[in-house]
Symmetry: C2
Subunit: 449 residues, 2 copies
């Protein structure tokens, strides 16, 4: 069996590895568009901050390790055409074009950065100090450019994960960061306003300038100076970083007859199978089954890409595995605080009668030194009592990342808020409470219902 | 409705508070045998270490806070007789005897320390430097005694939680600690030998002497000197701490016709109801429903006592709530490491075909500074694939306490080891991995099955 995988990031490598594992007799070829197979894109801000010493450190696996698994790795191979009738993929390399045959194909082409409708952006690029940040090449270009310009101030357009992580990274590097966000709070896809304000305050306390509810209308370059313009103000910058989200990279698939949804995400079934025979897809290029929603959603995350890729690879190798679906679990560290969320917020809970209650509870018994408050916004269904989602903000060290996981597992198993009180969670005074903070939030919700 | 609660620790206070909450018209009286209602017994080692500044800090709630909830609190009231026919409880105070009537009774008398069969122990007490450590009075007596003797070396008999926590507490206080354990490893009810050895090493690296597989045969006092004797050696000590586990404190209940099991634990149904009409029981004095075992077990823990007390209180007030059962989740910090466990170990998994696989995985992406390895022993059923239990050892700060909770929730929901891979857990490079360590352990188990 010849299995061909387009893409070598999280979904692609997971599919390739799993296919090899399930069918060691298969030939698995993996096409990677750049020279960075299986790199941790999520790690880019930590390399740019200087916390990670060198670019190759970001590789989940080295090229040698990938080759050792028996995968036929082709770097610098950009797929340009799929012929599902002949079962071939055409790819270009820096100096040639090749055609590859497949029996089974897995598409893991990822996402592309969104370019918001801002005047001037189209015409400006890295040479002008205006950067996107999605690939390793873009990251290295930004790094070089910041050094070349001896940048003192960078304006970041977009306060999602990457925007916030980059604000911290630049600050750690001694560069001033200004974050502009068109929604009313930072991390607008993750947090309600009440908690978003906490994170804005954290950023500001470390010297980051944050302006929410600010729609950038123009980026212009005059005599070597960059200016970012919104209705209420303008900001001078040595460099501008545009991190306003991503869209599925599905153009190649779509032109081949693979069905995509209105967002451009490839439509797959629970086996990660597309409408085209013998073609699977996974990762940031596909829509995603959400355990709490009737309709698929689009939420590109590395964790999901790994899981979907694994399912696609297993099935391409002859399996019948189903992707269990997500509940949208996320976490980000912001200086000394950690933000985590899972499930639905009220604004996302279409079809439910959501009620959200905010509670503050200590991470561990207050009598033991170092206890810190965790703010938890719990959303449940008023009618059925079902848990719908949770947002947490606490200090780094307060086990926020793994506390959100308790809620995530509860959500995936359809628990009610009241059933959270039945969970047999761990306790010792330096690390928790007899009723964990996650359960005290449930008690708060039940009292307010 | 007159609800009477015997006991003011975790189970008693939880029952009393919940009864008041469910039926604000009820009269709830709580008898507390000493002067310390609702104190955190689990916090005693941290007060003795000096980390917690003062004894009253250990109160979960102050007396004033308890009284403010409307509970009729009676401190220094030791219940001495229950008359289920007349529905009365007799209690003695330092200077009198009182009889109280009830409509509904909740027994939360807790546990008593086990005295191991060691020659000499019967005759020795705090005045001789030989201490138990279960009540606040015992804790304060130990504290005073260590100071009075200017103790330099304490021998601890028993390497369960309290023994280990006290070894750390004494070390922090500058007192040498020697731990003697008759089983082959420390924390013998929690950890397999492989991980227990890690914890012995951690203790030893901080100067604690640890001797496992050592059965103490005698404690003797000659001319003011204490000696602890085992077959292979003897140890001189300024004080001896006997922390060899506890047994249900059920004598009062048993003499009243309340049924107890062979361990002496009060027999209750899932509603925490005893065989005697209008009498419920909860906490360290009862046996406990275990979600993975056909038979009730005895595992006295504060978390369980809180949950059972809440159920008993709700039902005493007219409810029909069921206790969901435990999976045995536990955590303890040992100097710079954290030990956590949940579910069953192989030796406990009667009726299953257990397979245990040990994996080591980083707490977060290795490229980000400060990653530390977590050792995880995962036990699953070889035939069905069902998850049965997990033991974790990692560094303090690696979110071990809340990682075990992921397994706990999975166990309570009957997940298989393979389904752990479906869990949508949080990830950001400084705090996790795309496949969390808990999931990498599952992959390790599946590969070895």
């Amino acid at each position: 069996m010849r299995i061909l995988v387009i893409g070598g990031s999280d979904a692609g490598i997971s599919a390739a590895l799993r296919a090899r594992e399930c069918d060691p007799a298969s030939t698995v070829t993996m096409l990677v568009a750049d020279a960075y197979p299986n790199f941790s894109i999520c790690g880019i801000p930590y390399r740019l901050s200087g916390e990670v010493a060198d670019w190759p450190d970001l590789a989940h696996r080295t090229t040698a390790e990938i080759v050792a698994t028996g995968i036929d790795l082709r770097i610098d191979h950009t797929a340009t055409a799929i012929d599902p009738a002949r079962k071939t993929v055409t790819a270009v390399t820096p100096d040639s074009e090749v055609e590859l045959e497949y029996d089974r194909l897995v598409i893991g082409t990822g996402a592309v950065p969104l370019l918001p409708p801002i005047a001037g952006l189209d015409a400006l690029g890295p040479a002008d100090g205006v950067h996107l940040l999605h690939t390793m090449d873009e990251a290295r270009a930004l790094d070089d450019d910041l050094r070349a310009r001896d940048a003192r101030r960078v304006v970041i357009i977009g306060a999602g994960y990457i925007g916030i992580e980059m604000a911290e990274a630049l600050t750690n590097r001694g560069i001033g960061a200004t974050v502009l966000e068109r929604f009313d709070g930072v991390l607008p896809r993750t947090l309600d306003q009440q908690l978003a304000d906490e994170i804005s305050a954290e950023l500001e306390s470390h010297g980051v300038e944050v302006h929410c509810g600010t729609t950038v209308t123009e980026v212009r370059r005059d005599a070597g100076n960059l200016t970012v313009v919104a209705a209420e103000a303008k900001w001078a910058a040595d460099a501008v970083l545009v991190v306003s989200g991503v869209a599925p990279n599905s153009a190649l698939a779509a032109t081949t007859g693979v069905r995509v949804d209105k967002r451009g995400a490839i439509v797959v079934d629970r086996q990660m199978r597309t409408n085209v025979p013998d073609v699977w897809a996974a990762g940031d290029c596909v829509h995603t089954h959400h355990a709490l929603l009737d309709e698929p959603t689009y939420l590109p995350l590395g964790t999901t890409a790994h899981k979907q890729g694994r399912v696609a690879g297993e099935n391409a190798a002859g399996g019948q595995k189903e992707f269990a679906g997500i509940v949208g679990t996320q976490v980000v560290r912001v200086f000394d605080r950690v933000v985590a969320a899972t499930g639905l917020r009220e604004v996302e809970a279409a079809g439910y009668s959501p009620l959200t209650v905010q509670t503050t509870a200590d991470d561990h018994k207050r009598y033991y030194p170092g206890a810190t408050p965790i703010q938890i916004r719990l959303t449940g269904d008023r009618d059925t009592g079902r848990l719908l989602g949770a947002q947490l903000v606490g200090t780094h060290g307060a086990e926020i990342a793994k506390r959100v996981d308790t809620y995530a597992v509860a959500l995936q198993n359809g628990l009610s808020v009241e059933q959270l009180l039945d969970l047999d969670l761990s306790y010792t005074p330096p690390l928790g409470s007899p009723w964990d903070a996650t359960q005290l939030a449930a008690q708060g919700w039940l009292a307010a219902r």
